[in-house]
Amino acid sequence: MSGSSIKFQPEPERYEFTAAPMHRFELPRRDFFKFLGAGIAVFAVARDTLAAQETAPTQGFHQEELPKDITAWLHIGEDGNVTAFTGKVEIGQNIRTSLAQTVADELHLPFESVTMVTADTALTPFDFGTVGSRSMPTMSPQLRRAAAAARDLLVGAAAKEWNVAAEGLTTADGKVTDPATGRSLRYADLARGKTLAQNLPAEDPVTPPDQWTIAGKSIPKKDARAFVTGKHQYTPDLRRPGQLYGKVLRPPSFGATLTSYDAKAALAMSGVIVVRDGDFIGAAAGNERDASRALETIQTEWKEVSHTSSKELFSYLKKNATVKSDDRSRKTTGSVEDGFAAAAHRLDATYTVAFIAHAPLEPRAAVAEWSDGKLTVWTGSQRPFAVRDELASVFHVSESDVRVIVPDTGSAYGGKHTGDAALEAARLARAAGRPVQVVWTREEEFTWAYFRPAGVMEIKSGIAADGALTAWEFHNYNSGMSAIDTPYVVPNQHIQFHSTQCPLRSGSYRGLAATANFFARESHMDELAHAAQIDPLEFRLKNLSDSRLRAVFDAAAKSFGWSHKKTQEGQGFGIAGGLEKGGYVATCAEVSVDHTSGAVRVVRMTTAFECGAIVNPDGLRNQVIGANIQGLGGALFEFIEFENGRITNPRFSRYRVPRFRDVPEIEAVLLDRKDLPSAGAGETPIMAVAPAIGNAIFQATGTRLRGLPMVPNGLNTAQSGVPSTS
């Protein structure tokens, strides 16, 4: 599948998930028809092979125990419209549109006839979460097979009606036609009066990508009009009848515990509900201001604990590494000692990445409503079922009494796997006896959410005189294992992940540890190329056998004009690439460095990306370019500063994100492989951005920057990676 020369056992990505409750989904079949009315329903069941590809969560169960449950279903109503249900979440990655395309395509229906119901624990099947770029590779084929099975049912129903054989009947445009007689029946007619449900046959043939008619096209975002008119309601926009606005009193620093509490003044305020439960203190009122004022009157004292600071970050990570590491986190092939001995050039280098924040523009938010002991919560989360289970456990109620609904969300980038705001809103709502909405402030979002883990990567390598890699030793401290493998052919390798004590709450991020591991590896490959005096592209290709990866390197280089001579002072080109999550990426970057001021400007980037058969080219292009722009921030200037258990730059005025002026000319070269299954695309295109830019800076200046962010204050004051490693 992948072209890397060695493969780890499917090792759980340490930061992919924060908790792993897994429960079997019970199928409320009767409710289903009650809810939707009569018609035809098809239930998709995950196949073992697909389930096995899912990244297993860190604890709780093993792969062989993954439930072979229902993963999606669809319903053909008596009006001929189709509703497809999935637990996936729309977070700007366009899943609502691309999954609807898949269903319409396979059912031979107009795109407009398909509605997607997403991420509602009462209506949609259990789903592990919208994580790890798994929506397209798992959900899309399952829905496609469900649609194919539904089409078979419809054809069968028509055949029965006409008393002819099903073979030879055709489907198009929401109708079954008998070419022999020319008569046809609409799906609506066939579904009328039925309550027919069927589990999916294990192997239903589906339409191959080269015969797709609706999938594979650039269809505009579903419900796009609601977004340009401001009508779409994100979680912070919901207004439940009688709802209050809630605020939470935050401790002064991470890990602080409450030692004294006096809320007399707040409790005396009319129209305000005050809750203290353990160290949780919150208030709800008719407006946010009153809730905040109430909290301001509460007298508290806290016991704080000592913390490291961002200045000591990297030495802290190394110092606190766990000595023992299990077999799943290291891998050896050949002997690196032999490889070093055989090398003509040797190189040791250390790379670092800082903590960064997702900073989705929609902050964490939730509305919670209790009625008769049952809880309904609307919240922007990538893992609605995990949030449901979290709520059930925290409030000691059964999961069936908790419903979590996720409105299409103002993005997440891996940052919304937990249910923090949901718990807070639900706690306040229970006390208030009315719906309560909690919307985090930007400062809360920057402080109390979680971060992309910081990390230290140490690489020792050797190459022969002709540039062939002889040895590769790679150690990653803390950031994680995604893309820790090298895709290059190296006979002698030792690759190891070291867990450490992580000083800040960390979690998933777009691409996870791959942003760190790509940066280290692709920077190092560039250093080796320069040491061997071989062109960096040529050096990579020389050490690469994976044809899909070679193809994206070639495509990026060609479109970018890699071989062109530089024409200006301060100009530099860089290239980087790799594979992850079934996607193959290569990025070329051009930078321009002003030698006097030290200002670094990324002038243009070309990213070639291949993720199998493309479902929606326009949507994919949007994702790829977006990932490139987001990657620019982490490459150049984004980093979290902390001290004494406090985030010291928790604002957009202190935490710089890419803005219009930072955005270079970006080209996305999409390689459509209709012969390969579609992989996810939300993450991988971000991965090669930082090393490509770093390599370009080196070419322009001779300065090698080995830490992310690379130039938070321009090159002259560049303190690569910001915190010092000493």
């Binding site: 103002g410 930007r442 722009i629």
Partner: protein, 159 residues
């Protein structure tokens, strides 16, 4: 309850009863239910809360309600006329200039404001005037395209 303050929003007079120093953003969203205007930072840094005040783009999180009294306010809800989208809205729709679209209201209002004073902006001028609007999804190139397209269609509608 505080004395009512009269606002003129999308051509309609509406009274709010909050404290005069309440941010206009909060009054719009929580009191008047106009939730198309978004909160992103509350410090004037992200542009998600942009509205037009007397025709000029302003950050509604930075304006106390009292300062907005008796001045015409336009929010995203007021751009559509008789079921017809404003050319800037139409251009964003046609160019697919969004991903999660949380920044979209602010981007559209900022662009409407820009095109009022500069009907034919260059890309550099668009970048300059949208510099205060954050799009975390990285849709910037399409947003710039959309503004160009809107400029063109406003000119054509005007002819």
């Amino acid at each position: 309850m505080a004395k009512p303050i009269e606002l003129e929003i999308n051509g309609k007079r509406q009274a709010v009863h909050c404290d005069p120093e309440t941010p206009l953003l909060t009054a719009l969203r929580d009191e008047l239910g106009l939730t198309g205007t978004k909160y992103g930072c509350g410090e004037g840094q992200c542009g998600a809360c942009t509205i037009l005040l007397s025709g000029a783009p302003r950050r509604s999180c930075q304006i106390p309600v009292s300062a907005a009294a008796a001045k015409p306010i336009t929010t995203i809800e007021g751009l559509e006329k008789d079921g017809r989208l404003h050319p800037v809205q139409q251009a964003f729709l046609d160019s697919g200039a969004f991903q999660c679209a949380y920044c979209t209201s602010g981007m559209i209002l900022s662009s409407v404001g820009l095109l009022r004073t500069n009907p034919h902006p260059t890309s550099a001028e668009i970048i300059q005037s949208l510099q205060g609007n954050i799009c975390r999804c990285g849709t910037h190139p399409r947003i710039i395209d959309a503004v160009h397209q809107a400029a063109k269609s406003i000119e054509e509608r005007g002819r």
